[in-house]
Symmetry: C2
Subunit: 233 residues, 2 copies
């Protein structure tokens, strides 16, 4: 096992069980005691769920502050990386993909520290696989603007681009139901929409992929559920 | 374990070992005997490497023909899905992402058959995590055109888009070295380039991420190695 390395650690997206991570990923995490995380509480729960062999009081964490100047994680990184490898853990899914973890990775490259990404689950990628859309070309857009006018412009722009590349996007989970209605109302009848919900929740995961003309606003309950939306023109 | 389901099965991207797949993924594959694959030989080697408990002579395969009308896989699908679940397996990485497997998934949705994507490794996503680039917005472009003039136009177009979203792309592995020279020569000095090579090859994986002005054409040997390129403006 390499030392002095920054390991990027995937978190769970559905069930909270180590059966959802490869043995190789688990074995690398088991060698680590130092972690840069979004929230210490979530990180401790994750390390407990994977049966990390080190006692909880021996872990060291620094929380990544989204609104700060990142001074905290830099000093943690600089003081520990000469002696230990460090793990980066996000709240869900892959770190540094649609979360602020990329700042840490950028800093490691600047300091010439080896970066190793560990394999795990990504709801974005699982949804794309299961959509049946053309994976040769795709784009992830994160969240649409909240302002009604800007949101409509962003949607129409994505729909136009979806003729060349599948367009992936998300919504705040408590707004998923009205968002689905918004999509059905404003996308063209021939545009295909995939909704992937509760991925890796055993017995619950649902993936529906069909043209807008075949969608009904209330046919699936998305309220507060983790959900990925994809369109293809 | 669900029956009558289409399972999307990730293949290895580096080491050929079941330690690179989650236990949950392995357990679902162990329930399957029917597979739609790109090449039967590769599929059999994969099933052997993961210690599939079923004897090789009990498996049934249909090869997905890239240039055909897909009649073969449809008849295989239609005849087996009433009685069995079926697995889709690609040559490397995630099926239906940058490979023709999406046609099968599309067909399953059309027939109202449940689709479950199983988690595994994606070199595209691992490279993106490890690049340090902004994962809030990214685009996968596949391969650039081969024609020199079209290739230059595609590169300049990607570089322009890379100011808003990280741009991910690939090259045929035997052309990786001249391709890296082409990128260094034609991208702006301030554009950042990440090259991720030999991901999940133990002790070999290398990720370099820095501005074009700091790249030297021969600093990394990429010939015939699996490689992902990402730029950010």
């Amino acid at each position: 096992m390499a030392n002095h390395t920054l390991f990027l650690i995937p978190n769970f997206i559905g069930e909270f069980s180590k059966d959802y991570l490869p043995k190789r990923t688990l074995e690398y995490i088991y060698t680590l005691r130092h972690f840069i995380v979004e929230r210490e509480k979530t990180a401790r729960a994750f390390l407990k769920a994977i049966d990390h062999p080190v006692a909880q009081n021996e872990f060291e964490f620094v929380e990544l502050n989204k609104h700060d100047n990142y001074a905290g994680f830099k000093s943690f990184f600089d003081s520990h990386i000469p002696n230990f490898s460090i793990g980066v853990l996000s709240e869900a899914g892959l770190p540094a993909v649609a979360d602020p973890g990329n700042k840490i990775v950028k800093y490691a490259h600047l300091k010439n520290i080896k970066v190793i990404p560990l394999s795990g689950s990504s709801s974005i990628f699982l949804a794309l696989m299961a959509s049946g859309f053309n994976g040769q070309n795709f784009q992830f857009n994160g969240y649409l603007p909240i302002d009604a006018k800007e949101r409509m412009i962003a949607l129409k722009d994505m729909e136009r681009r979806s003729r060349k590349a599948a367009q992936i996007f998300m919504e705040a989970p408590y707004r998923n139901n009205p968002f689905l209605e918004f999509l059905i109302k404003n996308l063209q009848h021939s545009t295909k929409l995939c909704v992937a919900v509760d991925l890796e929740k055993e017995g619950k995961e649902t993936i529906i992929s069909k043209p807008i003309k075949d969608w009904k606003p209330q046919e699936i309950q998305l309220h507060k559920k983790p959900c990925i939306f994809i369109i293809e023109g």
